[in-house]
Amino acid sequence: MLQLPPIPSHLQKIYSTLRIIFYLSLCIFIYIFTVQLFFPTFSFTYNFRVSNSHNTLSSPHSDQNTPAGNGKIMQHGSLITSASLSGLFSSFAIDLALEKKSNLVETIYAEIHRTYQSFLLPLGDPIDAFPKENLYKIDDTYYVLQNETLYPFISTSAFLSRYEESFAREETNNFLSTHTLSEEFIGYRIGSLVSFADGVFIITSEHDIRPFGNAETFLALGYHFENVIPASEEEIGIYKRGRIILPGAIHPNGTLLFDKDTDIYYLIDQGFKRPVTNNDYLEFLKEKQIPIFVSSLESSKKASCTLEPGIFGRSFSCTGSINTLSAEFGNDFILSIQTNELPIELQILDVSFHTEKNKNTVLFTLSQIKQRLLSRFGIQQ
């Protein structure tokens, strides 16, 4: 195959030995790499000394929801952060180091639970009425009347994403002449998923859309491809494109969650999860989309471990099992570090998630590969 110069006879033995070593190393490398591919370990870190892009854990905060980027944990307090990743994991490991000036404690307690961050938002006021407006249909265009100004909908599809067709009153062109006509268009319902060209976007406000970084992020956030509405250039054109949605993003406004344990539907709205109690509106929303499934029972399940100090008392570590945390109802691992003794100050926090080396993990990885391959070719299951 390869035409190589001949090796002198006195070096033949060394050459053969080196080739064997080379091929053995190659086999070991391939084995390790394959194991890593099928049974990956994902590590996340936060350095409290430097706030930079190398910090892969989300911005930490206290249990009182105040920022805790300095790593300080008050007595009987906790520091909460999160890591986002999808897949089946069997165990986790936590390593942390205390600042030199920090108090020394004997043990630190860590807790992890798995959910969607949006499901942890505070409960908002219930939505007990269908959001109604003065709606009109003139020729084939829908309008909403606000402050004596008629705002046209960008398309029928945009109108139908917000209201029932019967909500619009038919009017003639004379009606237009008696009102001020806005040049601003009304688009899809906030929270709608739309596709254009090769991208999928979510409408985050009346004027903004955000693209999904990739199909994995879309699926990891629990969204369904069935909910994506193909949009035209004109429909997309009324929005300003915002930052890409990456893993770990909190669901934007308008996202519909369904808690399978309580049968309650929630709509994410301005930092709250609001239960939808109005039946008509709920039926309308359910007709338009498949909600993101959450589980209050599974979200409340926790895995924990007690961090023990190392030789010098400043580094702590522990490992724990997370087999009990379901992978079906969220891909955000919420980590809480607690101290009961004295206030402490963290310097570095490392968390890693390990997959179990068994048949289930291999099958799960293979199914993910299949799903990704199909979505790569535009086939949705």
Binding site: P8, D198, N214, F377
Partner: protein, 143 residues
């Protein structure tokens, strides 16, 4: 400075004569052959499943390492008066592997492009292939 260079030349000549450089050269070529083949395989998987490989290994770093080793092997080949000539040989299985790999990647790249831009992509692709063919296989007729 001249003294150091002379020492180096002496050392290289010594290892060239006792066959150590040939041994290193052969091992390097074998390593590069497997390395580039592995790189292309990983690149193909990465094209099909974005982030599947690069989440674990940096293909850029791997390519830089292969490129630097290739450069070293080229110098070594020059010292050993070895030429690595590419020859057109339809029977070589690697020609066919390369052929199918190239067209596989081309197929993947045009699969979801607007229909109107596909001829432009195909045209650019053929032009690049032709350019590479000229670079690698055209005999130098300037002398």
């Amino acid at each position: 400075m001249t003294h150091i260079i002379d020492k180096w030349i002496q050392l290289i000549t010594h290892y060239k004569e006792n066959g150590v450089l040939v041994l290193i050269y052969n091992l390097l070529i074998e390593f590069l052959f497997i390395g580039y083949f592995g790189f292309l395989s990983l690149l193909t998987v990465e094209t099909l499943l974005p982030l599947f490989i690069t989440a674990h290994i940096s293909l850029t770093k791997l390519f830089i390492i292969l490129f630097l080793i290739s450069f070293f092997a080229l110098i070594l080949g020059h010292i050993l008066e070895q030429n690595f000539i590419l020859e057109k040989n339809k029977k070589n299985p690697f020609v066919w592997i390369g052929f199918f790999l190239t067209f596989g990647i081309l197929f993947l790249s045009i699969i979801r492009f607007p229909f109107s831009t596909i001829p432009l992509i195909l045209l650019s692709f053929v032009a690049i292939i032709f350019l590479f063919f000229r670079i690698f296989f055209q005999k130098d007729e300037t002398f």
